[in-house]
Symmetry: C2
Subunit: 285 residues, 2 copies
Amino acid sequence: MNILEKINSQITTFSKSERKVAEVIIANPEQAIHSSIATLAKVADVSEPTVNRFCRRLDTKGFPDFKLHLAQGLANGTPYVNRHVDENDGPDEYCAKIFESTMAALDIAHRNLDIGQINRAVDILTQAKTISFFGLGASASVAQDALNKFFRFNVPVNCFEDIVMQRMSCINSTDGDVVVIFSHTGRTKPLVEIAQIARQNDATVIGLTAKDSPLGKECNMCISSDVPEDTDLYMPMASRIAQLVLVDILATGFTLRRGPKFRDNLKKVKDSLRPSRFEKKEGFN
Amino acid sequence: MNILEKINSQITTFSKSERKVAEVIIANPEQAIHSSIATLAKVADVSEPTVNRFCRRLDTKGFPDFKLHLAQGLANGTPYVNRHVDENDGPDEYCAKIFESTMAALDIAHRNLDIGQINRAVDILTQAKTISFFGLGASASVAQDALNKFFRFNVPVNCFEDIVMQRMSCINSTDGDVVVIFSHTGRTKPLVEIAQIARQNDATVIGLTAKDSPLGKECNMCISSDVPEDTDLYMPMASRIAQLVLVDILATGFTLRRGPKFRDNLKKVKDSLRPSRFEKKEGFN
DNA sequence: CTAAATTATGTAATTTTTTTACATTTTTAG
DNA sequence: CTAAAAATGTAAAAAAATTACATAATTTAG
């Protein structure tokens, strides 16, 4: 845990003087790491040993060690935060903000991820007779991306952008078929309907969607990224990126489950592209 | 810049003794931040003032200040590294690795990004008569995603997955049309050809591809993410995520350029979806 | 190639900073 | 209200870092 958070969480257990020290540090940690114990004691209006005791109470070896921890916490505490784009931002700023909030979103998605569900999904996918990927809007391209990965595995795969085709496909599904439905909100009516249809026909439905959503409830199992969507610009951004990473994870899990021999096939698929490409110049790399 | 990187980049300018200090620190920075100047001097086999001079050379106030900088560098220097999935990895491990290398890739993409090119691309896009997005394979879904963003802007947009349609579209293009081509490698022959065709017809071609690739050379301008692709599993992974973030950036730049009134339109597009969705329960949020 | 000048490094003293030992004050429990 | 415990401060000691200066190594001009 970050030492600043630690100070905050333990502040009630501190004595009066120690609390003074804590407050001074929280108020301006940047300044604290550049102060000597004497300066800090004076600012907090306590004696130097009090500051030292304060440091020890936080499981550091002493004041210099405490400053080191604090410095690390400051560096670590702000790396990828969700910063919203402002209308006066120049290109530097909005580029930085978008990259950072995307990374922050992935970090959150990773933390919230239920690995057990991933494992179950890989189980289901490896045993599937056919796999269908469906999504609408921004999730349609996620579905297409999933198709692009899974068709390499030599399993029958489907992907339709058209809701009518999706419906017909689900009506024809049977036991052993797996339908993967992508939807950030899980509130898109037509997708909820095709999930119901697929399950009525004994297909297994995996939802990459919010757990408690209408769609989530219709699925056999659910993988949710729980990424808060940035609604500033009314466009899906981080959520679909998180979904794509989940696709990568499922595809990776799939290939690992199938063993090393299987991976040679993947190389063959890739090599088959060679004639349609310009060769890279010879040399290292 | 991270102080460890700084040491590395300046190591040639150091004197013999200072280099000894640098090497000891690089070999084990964790240990360095917990050593006194005396210990470090002994380990590096130099005198204490040499260590101190070394610190000053790196624009720090002295040894303790140097340790602070180093501690901060360690805290955010190693967060997201590109770790490769190993065949014995369990789900926890491959999930962590995939998330981390994706984030690492985005970090690299951000650092390598030429903001000037982004600005130019936004210029071109805001002035476009029509915009077409083309890609093949994994980049096809990136193109589709771009379509999903830019159609909201009330500009005529195209996106075909079919190379023949792409070709025909480029043949019909004229001055004022903008063609955006997605390709990680920039070596896919058909895409290089359509870039040539589009330019022959006076369209402006923007490549989201490698700068020095055959495709890159055919484009009017080029935005490259320079993300090293993880080829372990023979599937595009991080590269397409980086492309999608670039799409987000271009779309954001576009809306900012158009001003606040324009953004009301985006809300309208989003609101139009409401009838096809299940309402969220009332309440906060 | 040599001598002067410059630069690099180390020694030892000085200063600063941190820590310890102990005294005093404050708080708490009976 | 008093005794014990806890908290805080004072002052001295220890540790760490820095400075001033001396010596050694290297470079450069002739």
